[in-house]
Amino acid sequence: MKFLAVFALIVFCSSSFAEPGSAELPPAPGPATGLADSAALRATVFGTPPQDIAPLPDTVPMLEMEVALPWRQPVPQIFWFDKRLRVWFSAQKKPAPLAIVISGTGSDANTAKLSVLRAILYGAGYHVLTVPSPTFPGFIVAASSTGVAGDLMQDGHDLYAAVGQIIAHLPRKVRITDVDVLGYSLGGANAAIVKSIDATEHKLHIHRALMINPPVSLFATIGRLDKLYAVSLGNGDAGIERFYQQLYAQLANAYRASGRVALDEDFLLGAAAAVLKTDAQFSAAIALSFRIALSNVFLAGDLYSGAGVVTDPAHPPKVGDSLEETAQILRSKTFAEYFTRVFAPYYLKRLPNATVDSLVAQNRLDVIGDQLRTDTDYYCLTNSDDLILDRAELGWLTKTLGTRIAVYDHGGHLGNLGDRQQAADMLAMLDGRWQGSR
């Protein structure tokens, strides 16, 4: 059923759709608002070409761990399958450093991107532990102490505690010589925060942290993604339906022309290049992949906080209930609306001195700006055409990290993850051999 995942990428992009960004958030300037350049958009969607991937090992052992965490909140019925946190561990046979890898927005602990990172790190001699993003529903339900995901510090504390529990339960024969943490996209920011927490709590003894294509300001980024969506797809259900109809017709015509007897994975991989044609379609696919993740975060946050935006707190949906109507309502919800109607009310109630502005401010990487500046064990890999950063944010990263950042000219958002140069730089940074960009 791998074809379903590819099919989802092409067709079911229409699962979450938006209105323009809320006026309550500050505007989000950046390359994405004018649409990033074509190469960046294509790199972001297609990822690193397989022939450019760094050398990979022949085999990587895979141990799945399902951990029950004691601080888990009561589980809403419709999330019954997410009670335990699921992570993956690949152990070396000899003593080795441990690399903890945090997934990107809304993703689990076994994505294709994580597979590439896992293989590269394992091949370089690391034990590798991959963990989901704190915005993955399986994490929100099993490991979040609030159920309302998206707060950098709170998610960082939940991650830190969860990783501590997992490491305590690793097989006894595993010998760890050092601990590094890294992550991609939002997971990159999470990784830096986790290291900063460890600097005060000293439980995991994390040595180095590496951020790969991280955001700088979560709310500037989500504003930019909302705008990317609005620019590429328009507003409301009509735009969404039109986009879906176009993709459906293109796929059906490509399938008719192919002469195949089944719509399988090979056909879809071949058709993807033909179906997505314009910059607007690539932009829509990118914005949609983030929006699909938002549907789950929104629903979980709504249930846990009792906000009542898409569910009735007095009568939450039960196992077996149809969620079609809820999905339809969520199609019109933006990141901005999640912030203003679920996230902010919850945290404003919880933190008496907080304001909307302070919530926005504390969800920037500069909450750990001093550590990033002074602690030489923080590193970053990013691209100058990454559409989740604007010029000012990239400048801030470069200025803050100095020589501890590598900025590539092309790759968009994660479109060069695991390529030879990036993999070599990643390993040099984690190994303390990094001499600065050439």
Partner: protein, 301 residues
């Protein structure tokens, strides 16, 4: 008594009544180098196919090829079914989906993973080819019923080659001779005859389907039982063979229930499955325009 205890254990397992703080599941090792090599080969194959298709699409090339086939009337955006899916049995389907997920996690997937871990790849390949070869019998019958005689000949040729040169189907010699495996069944025959997919249907243990495909599965099984090729489908050996076939199929399907972590997974799979069916149906009737759906009529109705 034993049966009662067995039932109780099965119920507990299927009910997810695991209470240990940490559970470990060892999976087959990933093979990144080989996977990457396969991805590169696949990409090159797709590029070559795209280039060949582009060459054939030129008028000059079409003439050289003896004239192009009559072009299909294009599917237009307005021909796309609505975003909704026809699912009048949703409550039962959701229950079956949950049952399938629990069965898969508790029994099916661990057994399939054990099979992948402990049985050598060569042997697994042989088993897979063996069962694939048996499905050629259904393909021969159904391609004939569909009136696609060139495909009937191809499936029959594959069956003969693999059953003889491939030692009872253990080796897919036909694929090496560039005769690809393209199975079909009675569900597709019904589609060819003009039957609509009908309501979405989740079949116990098998998973997503439609009413039409469900009928197709039943008829295919009945056909196999009636023909009873090699005496494989009746008697004690049929159970062992059926279980092995199921394990082989599961081991070759890259899907895990609720790996999305999302409560919308049922809706997502239903949406995708029905569109897949409808696009395949459009491919079966190339010379006809796709019927325009009525406004707001759920897909599949």
């Amino acid at each position: 008594m034993r049966a009662r205890i067995g039932c109780a254990v099965a119920v507990l397992v299927l009910a997810g009544c695991a209470t240990r703080e940490v559970q470990f599941h060892r999976w087959p090792a990933e093979t990144p180098a080989a996977n990457n090599k396969a991805d590169i080969a696949r990409m090159q194959g797709l590029q070559a196919a795209a280039a060949a298709a582009a060459t054939l699409a030129t008028p000059q090339a079409s003439e050289q090829a003896g004239g192009a086939a009559e072009p299909s009337p294009p599917v237009k955006p307005d021909d796309a079914p609505s975003l909704k899916t026809y699912d009048p049995w949703a409550r039962l389907n959701r229950f079956t989906y949950r049952f399938n997920s629990r069965f898969d996690e508790a029994l099916f997937l661990p057994v399939a993973n054990g099979y992948r871990r402990f049985v050598p790849a060569g042997l697994r390949g042989g088993v897979h080819s063996f069962f694939a070869n048996l499905t050629e019998i259904d393909s021969v019958i159904n391609y004939t019923l569909q009136g696609r005689l060139h495909r009937t000949v191809r499936s029959f040729g594959r069956f003969v080659i693999n059953t003889t040169l491939g030692i009872g189907g253990l080796f897919d010699i036909a694929a090496r001779l560039n005769i690809p495996y393209e199975p079909t069944g009675f569900g597709t025959t019904l589609a060819r005859w003009g039957m609509h997919p009908g309501p979405y249907l989740v079949i116990p243990l098998l998973g997503p389907s439609t009413f039409r495909e469900g009928v197709g599965y039943a008829v295919d099984y009945g056909t196999d039982y009636a023909i009873n090729f090699g005496d494989l489908y009746r008697g004690g050996q049929s159970w062992g063979l059926g279980v092995t076939n199921a394990i082989d199929q599961r081991a070759n399907v890259d899907f895990r229930y609720y790996s999305t972590g999302s409560p919308f997974e049922y809706e997502t799979i239903r949406f995708l499955y029905m569109r897949k069916q409808l696009i395949e149906d459009a491919g079966l009737h190339k010379s006809k325009p796709v019927p325009k759906p009525k406004p707001d009529e759920p897909a599949g109705k």
